[in-house]
Subunit: 421 residues, 2 copies
């Protein structure tokens, strides 16, 4: 995409009420627009990053047999009453609305009830299970405070997956498959080494712990205790001697850190399926409970976490897998020859399927370099009178200070190989 | 995808309150699930069709320079008050909700106001225009009645595009570009020949007509008068002698039909930009109004329209461009050899990037053929003892009754060529 055509621009100002580092950077770079606290629009470059993250998550969920669907935002009251999650005294972050007739509706905050209800039409026999389904969808939670940018939204994009199994051991297998898929997601997003599988409270209807994935960050809301050797952690909420003994851990091996919860997986036992009266018949025709689990990843929260952590004093630093473009072409100089060579390179890279941000604006070098850094594009190529003379291009990685000079052939080859990784 | 793994199944029953042909077929085929009147979830195969339609629309909007973004569902009251569209007496199909603090919020039904407000940060000079932006997003409208399945949803997927131009002639150019892109969309979706650009009321703030795209259907809500020779139509709402004279048409050339509005494009003059105080400075530094337009396509409505119109008494008939799979492999017979050959063909087609629904279930031929027809997959291939003997496969198009026998090489070649069209 040509920057002369992109309608967003970088800026030095952010809304006065914005305190979160991730949101400040993303607003300055023109990736997001603040509609209100905890509610952000995604502008073209931000939408690309969000979609790229969603696609990584989608591929990993598909790889373990997840079937993608799309549940509704509007929610009927009756199914939530069956599980006692309608009353605002029980679930305190509903947004609610109503039909013209006065019928109350919920605005979707999670989807256990409607998923179980929809699946009830398709589950009767043991032959219909197991099932692994997921969606990537906008969710709504009426948070009292929302000051952390994309880390805690009132409106946010989430991947929520649900598993339904015949037995505890079948459930456990799906659960661990999902945990492995989550690990792959964080690795592909460049935060694998700072993200810990973390034991947390399992909730009121299980004796088991749940599993969170916590990325180490001072911006995080959670306190966790990490075991570096075992690459795992324990959430403060279950940090008791009794629980640690169960987990085979002791306090002197653990280090306190702040974490952002970038994923959670939860054993639901048969709470929702029983409550909504969904069972299966086993081989002998006996009615059996269905064991389920739920698995969440905040897509927009991941974008905020990465913006928060993988940035420096110059701006954002996107991993190649989710960057809105792989390379930023900074065209310097006004001569026809520079324009022609830069246009030509842009076209060749796009033809190879390499996403480019082409800075074809009339602007000074300093301004272009500052924008390339703020936008966080992994590679920057300079086309100028000087590079024309040497018949090479100047190439720099976003995270390096040194520049390299490379021929066109080598440039295209190396950028194409990055793209296909 | 293997049907033995897909959790949905076809069914002979539909909800008692469902009267719309499109919804009945889509529910029976397991494409959608009815949450409540006008609110449908998209199950795996339905989600694929919806995404495929969205992708066709996206490609055509990108081709005319549209920049994709994603505005928010939650809407602050103040920007809608500036255009006098907040009051329920003015706009009667809002869903509204509120923050914990009591602050009222709207649930997005369209996005002129927030788009103009967000763009105001990026528009100051004539150099910043023109701009073409769009989103593909879930919208909410509090319809009193919603009995037409996907043709009129309370929650639905829409592509809404907005243009911002410096002059009326620049606006007109963008407007006609969008109209051409719309025509391409309908052609790619297989309804080009029954869809008419239709003059309709332009609303209160313009003397111009708006343009609708109406697909001929008895299920449609609109009455239109078509001119077959000119391939255009006139909506009943402006069907007066005076208007027809302006359009150079006379009543005796026109034929009355029912139509589904599958798109609309609307000249907004400078109503929203002026109301939200967004102007640009021209070359001489003078403040000028911005001329805008809005352009809608109901993605889920298109899915319903196609389901309604391109179906027969056996079920759905998806055009190749949006079908959830190109080919349905019906495996008949239990021998190891049949299983092996069918598995092998499935793998070869998937490796070529050809989407397959592989019916690997233990079921009778009649049941498999009925499902292939109900699901509306464009091609059906039979693998059976009989086809093994002849070393060929039996191939049938969904819309034909004749079967053909083809070699594996020819089968793969012809299916691959369809896919890349």
């Amino acid at each position: 995409m040509r920057l002369s055509e992109l309608f967003t621009k970088t800026s030095k100002t952010v809304p006065a009420d914005e305190t979160a580092r991730n949101a400040k950077l993303l607003i300055r770079a023109g990736y997001i627009h603040k509609e209100m606290a905890g509610v952000y629009a995604f502008l073209p470059l931000g939408k690309r990053v969000l979609d790229n993250i969603a696609q990584v998550v989608r591929e990993e969920m598909n790889a373990i047999g997840g079937q993608e669907l799309q549940m509704t935002v509007l929610q009927p009251k009756d199914i939530w009453e069956k599980t006692d999650r309608w009353d605002d005294n029980k679930v305190d972050n509903w947004f609610k609305t109503s039909l013209k007739s006065g019928t109350e509706l919920g605005v979707g905050l999670t989807h256990e009830e409607p998923i179980v209800d929809a699946l009830s039409e398709y589950i009767s026999s043991y032959k219909d299970l197991p099932i692994f389904v997921y969606q990537i969808q906008t969710k709504f939670r009426n948070e009292l405070r929302a000051k952390s940018g994309l880390l805690r939204g009132r409106e946010f994009t989430m991947k929520d997956m649900y598993s339904f199994a015949r037995t505890q051991s079948e459930h456990d297998e799906l659960y661990e498959k999902a945990a492995s898929a989550y690990r792959k997601v964080y690795e592909r997003l460049g935060i694998g080494d700072i993200t810990y599988r973390t034991y947390a409270d399992g909730g009121i209807f299980t004796n088991r712990f749940s599993d969170e994935f916590q990325t180490i960050s001072d911006a995080g809301e959670d306190t966790i205790y990490i075991h570096e050797g075992k690459k795992l952690a324990v959430n403060k909420e279950i940090y008791t001697d009794e629980n640690l003994a169960k987990l085979g851990l002791s306090k002197d091996e653990l280090v306190e850190k702040r974490g952002v919860e970038v994923g959670n997986i939860f054993p639901l036992e048969s709470k929702y399926t029983d409550a909504l009266d969904v069972y299966y018949s086993d081989e002998r025709g006996n009615r059996q409970s269905i064991i389920s689990g739920c698995y969440g990843i905040g897509i927009s929260r991941l974008m905020g976490t990465i913006a928060e952590l993988l940035s420096d004093d110059k701006g954002l630093v996107w991993p190649v897998n989710i960057a809105p473009a792989i390379v930023y072409i900074a065209r310097l100089g006004d001569s026809d020859e520079v324009h022609k060579i830069a246009d030509d390179l842009y076209q060749k890279l796009e033809d190879k399927g390499i996403e480019v941000l082409y800075d074809d604006r009339d602007a000074r070098a300093g301004e272009k370099f500052a924008d390339a850094d703020l936008l966080g594009i992994p590679y920057r190529v300079v086309v100028s009178e000087k590079t024309l003379e040497s018949k090479q291009f100047e190439l720099k990685e976003r995270t390096e200070t040194e520049v390299k000079f490379v021929s066109e052939v080598d440039l295209i080859k190396s950028l194409a190989s990055i793209k296909t990784n």
